[in-house]
């Protein structure tokens, strides 16, 4: 009986030893930040010997991922990293020889319809893309692989961060340009907004500096009958067609349009002529189309103009009524 018990104990011990080693925090790739820093990259690379294919595949994948970045600064770092890795007997050659397809990620685990995993993910070196390592990997291997990956990722991240800042700044400037266009640029009716969109390239992030004016009604204030009996008049104008150009980063604009205008709401007294625009103000000139060639000059204050805010309405009310 005692012999049987000893045999059972021995059997259990052997079984326990053969079971996968659990490595605590090293088993969760999301805890990567807590792994020890790799102080000496070459030393870690050398220590990876003996873990092929898992550790070396991971390292090779990191090298290939970094190599995919065309940035000159990153490429300099890649060259330096390659020199270090070249000290490690053949890793670089093996990395180059590996087809990229072999490094596609493996499934991380089956889940049920509610999204609950039915088995947990195996440990991954990189969260993106993941490389699944067998759960019976040695903890020491995991620590060393994690250290190498962490150093390489830190190097790449620091180079990448500079370019991300540049990208963020560029996008912010484009967003501000759009904001200035629609809040302080020449107002656009829906059909004009549609036209502005047609001027944009699909790869554009910012607005076009050109704006077309198309069938744009507006109201203003002017002086009619300049040659006979000048008098103030409320004016409505339809700018049939025109063009504006934005400068100073969409802070100002200038342009020209061709308009039909009507004084004091008299449909018998239409004039046609040009309108010159400069940042919120339109200065128009019209010649009557019927009867004697009477002249009108008028001012249009765009609704987005800083000078607007009810001023135009007040001026229009003061116009002499027909």
């Amino acid at each position: 009986m005692r012999a049987l018990i000893f045999a059972l104990v021995a059997l259990v011990s052997v079984t326990a030893t053969a079971r996968a080693e659990t490595c605590g925090v090293l088993d969760d790739p999301r805890q990567m930040e807590s792994w020890p820093e790799a102080a000496d990259l070459a030393a870690y690379a050398r220590d990876l010997d003996g873990s092929w294919p898992t550790a070396q595949r991971a390292l090779a994948h990191v090298v290939i991922a970094i190599r995919a970045d065309d940035d000159p600064d990153t490429q300099r770092l890649v060259k330096r990293t390659r020199r270090i890795l070249a000290e490690y007997d053949g890793t670089e050659e093996r990395a180059r020889a590996l087809p990229v397809d072999e490094l596609t990620p493996k499934p991380c685990g089956d889940i049920d319809d509610d999204g609950v995993p039915v088995r947990t993910c195996a440990w991954s070196v990189l969260s993106d893309p993941a490389i699944e390592l067998p759960t019976d990997g040695r903890c020491e291997d995991k620590r060393r692989i994690g250290g190498v990956v962490k150093v390489l990722r830190t190097i790449v991240a620091s180079v990448h961060a500079v370019h991300v800042e540049d990208a963020a700044l560029a996008l912010t400037q484009h967003a501000e340009a759009w904001d200035r266009l629609i809040t302080r640029g020449f107002s656009q009716y829906p059909w004009e907004v549609w036209i502005h969109g047609m001027l944009l390239s699909p790869t554009a992030w910012g607005p076009s500096k050109h704006q077309l004016i198309v069938l744009h009604p507006s109201a203003g204030f002017g002086v009619e009958q300049l040659s006979k009996d000048p008098r103030a008049a409320a004016v409505v104008a339809i700018e049939a067609a025109g063009w504006l150009y934005y400068f100073r980063d969409f802070r100002q604009y200038a342009g020209l349009s061709f308009a039909a205008s009507m004084s004091n709401f008299d449909v018998q007294r239409w004039s046609i002529g040009p309108v010159a625009h400069l940042s919120g103000i339109g200065l128009g000139y019209g010649v009557a189309v019927r009867g004697e060639p009477e002249h009108t000059v008028f001012l249009l204050l765009d609704v987005t103009s800083a000078l607007d805010d009810g001023l135009l309405e007040k001026l229009s009310r003061r116009a002499v009524a027909p």
């Binding site: 088993d27 999301r30 805890q31 990567m32 930040e33 991922a65 995919a68 970045d69 065309d70 990229v100 596609t104 499934p107 889940i111 509610d114 999204g115 609950v116 995993p117 947990t120 993910c121 969260s127 993106d128 893309p129 990722r153 830190t154 991240a157 990448h160 961060a161 370019h163 991300v164 800042e165 990208a167 963020a168 560029a170 996008l171 912010t172 484009h174 967003a175 759009w178 629609i182 809040t183 107002s187 656009q188 009716y189 829906p190 907004v193 549609w194 969109g197 047609m198 944009l200 992030w205 607005p207 009604p217 507006s218 109201a219 409320a234 409505v236 709401f265 609704v303 987005t304 309405e313």
Partner: protein, 354 residues
Amino acid sequence: MRLEQVLFVIHGIGEHADAVVGRSDARVWSREVVDLLREACADYPQIGRDALTIVPILYDDVFSTYQRTWQKLAEQLGDTPLGRATEWLAKADEPGFVWGSIADIALYKGLPAVRTQVITEVAATIARTIAERGPSARYSILAHSLGTAVAHDVVHKLATVPIDGNSALMPPAFRFDNFFALANVSRLVAADDPHFYDETRVRPFDCGLPESECAVSHYVSFRHVADPIPSVVRFSRPTWSKEHFHRVDLRHFRDLNVHAFNHYLASPRVIDRVLYRLYGPAAVPPDLMRRRIDAFTDFQGVDADEVKRAVSEVAILLDKVSFQAHGQFDLDFVALLKVVPLALRALKSAVVRG
């Protein structure tokens, strides 16, 4: 020290102005959504209430600005002979279903300039956050309704168009960890594009695109079976990898507005799944997740059976009119026009009886 998880939250149609101050503010519209996420985080001790960095993004102030301009133009011409031609714009800035909700979709889809501006503004917010937090943090997107189309377009453009020659936010240099789409209408908004699934970069690995071009690592699309908005033209790509792309159908009922952002988040099948994808099994243990899902009842109250039946009826109706854009099913417009009010009436009467 755990990797920082950053979740961009993008709203859908509707107004997101502060009723008191009368302006749009990202923090205001997202208060309820953020609270729901924080409460769920607090239920997992390994995560903690404040661990998740939530970045709400506002974009409908673009629509509001255009609408305000059009209203001013109409007012300027109001007393003139041209006033009648522009009086339809006079109510552009007033709150309401037409100008507040329907107009959002019309402006986004119909006016390329508006769409480009919205994409640029959202992308700028995302890029600034990534620049502040650093590339070592992990970034995911949670979008709702029209926000799913906006988020899709933003991610696709970031993945395909350099920013003034800068490719720092393009894969493989950068990709989003997760793309969570609630009431996914990205396919609906692009219903006129027969190549949508073939050309989008907003897809994860093993979905027909080289790994180096995928803009997201994981994609989950959520749809409530009684929500007509994402049901008419459904986001559905059966050939995509089942490991990295999931479609989740929901049946729970807590409010007549089953389309609402917080209604989707009310179910642990949504919110716990989001947290699992962000934090993994160490922080979101599968057994705890399972218990939370099992403890949640889809239908509550005295007439739970009545409501359940109503939801099922609506789901069946919506299945009949579902339209896979460009190719697979025919769209019966007449049936669609009949179904939506029927569906709403069925739900409403079930609620009244309940």
